[in-house]
Assembly symmetry: C2
């Protein structure tokens, strides 16, 4: 069986600006705690234990595809997998997030960040191999990695932070060391995504979840060169792959983050889709941006919110429907399925015309 034409794959059609059979939908954190079938097979222990078991990680990745009928699968993984794999000493504490017992404090700690060779993430390659066989032809697999700034913030703060004090102290107080650190983390993002694209992922998302804590000037000086290198290098190695750039509360960084070289910009609910298009130009594909809090508010509020997202997009073919942040663990998965069905129904397109 030959692979379908990209225009028959809703996700890829939206990236290319052709009109697929409907607006594609996926949800950040669609694989995970909101699903009873996930809680059933996940077991206890760190999320990293599950990620390191290819059969289990593949099954968890497939669960939301089967249940919701989403238009993309996103690898069950975590942004700290590469730094964990090289042995920096980091884990994901349930209910807290990434925790480093011994945070990054100075130049000596660079020794704890050796190159990410592909053998260190063999398990991820195997998981992607399984998924490449098992996923439906029209549901691409998305790779993802943490962006250099966001991963650096976990290494430096040692745990989730509201102020990023130590991170900002390092970037302003020792700029050379800062660039060394995020340079290494950019390499990790490149290699980690490269493995996934090489084994069959079709697109990738770079998560700079906490970049919104920075001023535009600081973002441009301390972060943008490194995130740009990630997109440029991956575009060179995998010209057919699509790159998505996403952060929370990044309205004030929108132009800068898009300039890093992404094909798709991920928005949270603070930025209107129409306004983002006005600011970035018509050639951008926009992903987002339903507030996950509205999904928790019940069926009626969720569907009304999803309709406002469609209205904001105004029928543009360059739209990938998503939430504006990850699915909350206590989300009713039935409502997520209803959102997928509703978006598919209300955007169904019978022709095959292009823009």
């Amino acid at each position: 069986m030959s692979p379908p034409n990209p225009s028959e794959i809703p996700f890829l059609a939206a990236v290319q600006g052709t009109r697929g059979r409907h607006t594609p939908v996926w949800f950040m954190r669609q694989a995970g705690r909101s699903l009873p079938e996930y809680r059933e097979i996940r077991g206890s222990g760190s999320i990293l234990d599950a990620i390191y078991q290819p059969e289990l990680a593949a099954e968890i990745t497939l669960q939301p595809v089967r249940r919701h009928g989403v238009d993309a699968a996103v690898l069950f993984s975590d942004i700290v997998v590469p730094v964990h794999a090289v042995g920096f000493g980091i884990d994901v504490a349930p209910g807290t997030g990434p925790v480093a017992q011994s945070p990054f404090r100075g130049a000596d700690d660079l020794k704890r960040l050796p190159p990410l060779t592909h053998d260190l993430v063999d398990h991820v390659a195997i998981t992607v191999d399984i998924l490449s066989r098992e996923l439906p032809n029209d549901v691409p697999l998305l790779a993802f990695a943490g962006a250099p700034f966001t991963v650096a913030s976990y290494l430096i703060e040692g745990s989730p932070s509201r102020t990023y004090q130590r991170t900002k102290s390092l970037m302003h107080g020792n700029e050379a060391l800062w660039h060394s650190l995020v340079g290494v983390l950019a390499d990790y993002a490149i290699e980690f995504i490269d493995v996934q694209l090489t084994h069959g992922a079709r697109a990738f998302q770079l998560f700079d979840s906490w970049a919104g804590a920075l001023s535009p000037d600081d973002y441009e000086r301390f972060v943008l060169p490194h995130s740009s290198r990630v997109f440029a290098e991956l575009k060179q190695r995998h010209p057919q792959s699509a790159g998505i750039h996403f952060g929370i509360g990044c309205d004030h960084l929108l132009e800068l983050m898009y300039s890093a070289g992404a094909d798709v910009i991920g928005l949270d609910w603070r930025t209107s889709i129409a306004k983002a298009r006005a600011r970035l130009g018509e050639s951008v594909t926009v992903q987002g941006n339903l507030d996950p809090a509205l999904v928790l508010a019940g069926r009626e509020t969720a569907i009304a919110g999803a309709q406002r997202v469609l209205d904001d997009n105004g029928g543009h073919p360059r739209h990938i429907f998503n939430l504006g942040h990850g699915v909350q663990p206590d989300t009713d998965p039935g409502i997520l399925t209803e959102i997928v069905n509703m978006v598919h129904e209300r955007t169904r397109h019978k022709g095959g015309s292009t823009e």
Copy 2:
């Protein structure tokens, strides 16, 4: 002794757009935990205990004026004082923030929010009376109150939140009840600030610290009418008073928040002063916006950051120097004093010319 002309009071000159003797400086949370003299007299127990003792609260308010030579005093208070005073049942947990044992859940809870009569905040009036006598003539006292949305979020969530799930569920799920609740909270802000202005405060700040969690559409529909009423009513009762509107991460709401009727818009470091002026017009006075994380990064980084703020402002008379968020408890107060001196020296003006 007759009171000085407003142009001789740097804070008021900046509000009016005349050039005072230097750019005025104050710091959000300048009174409090960063000062050893505060920790010495504060005692243990809830911050509300200290706020309810006029002599103590006045002394705490005066401490940073004496130590740093700032150009405004800000009443030692808390945004939950009004809801505490009416007996809703809320306290400030050290290290956590406002906590309501029994959060706002439905219409019945409106009964727990009776009118804020002035006798309930007598202690605040007495504190302001003391400060009106003791403050230097050219250091105005600033009143403040929590904005309806931010206070509502504490009542509904029961404790500080990252997602505002319950708050957003209520606003979208029961809009009538939402407007009843924030209507009452707007009344509280009006009455609480009114008491302070009546007893001698010269300006006020409305803190909508967490409004940045909202989309522009939600802010406009669920919040703006109520915050606008606060500014309009206070302008009517106290035409000479200046109103400051402030929130964290509100770049995407800038025009809306300014439209609420503030004279001064408070910025965090995410929004450049020059760009804010370009968006809002030349008649706005801008307050801000040094990242408090840079103050924690040591003297050199702090002073360099303060210089970038002055550069961003470009010598405009309508600027009040401040941080972009409150002083962090572990800040070195000596660096704050150095920032005050540096801003005063580098903006010193010998003439008395106006714009």
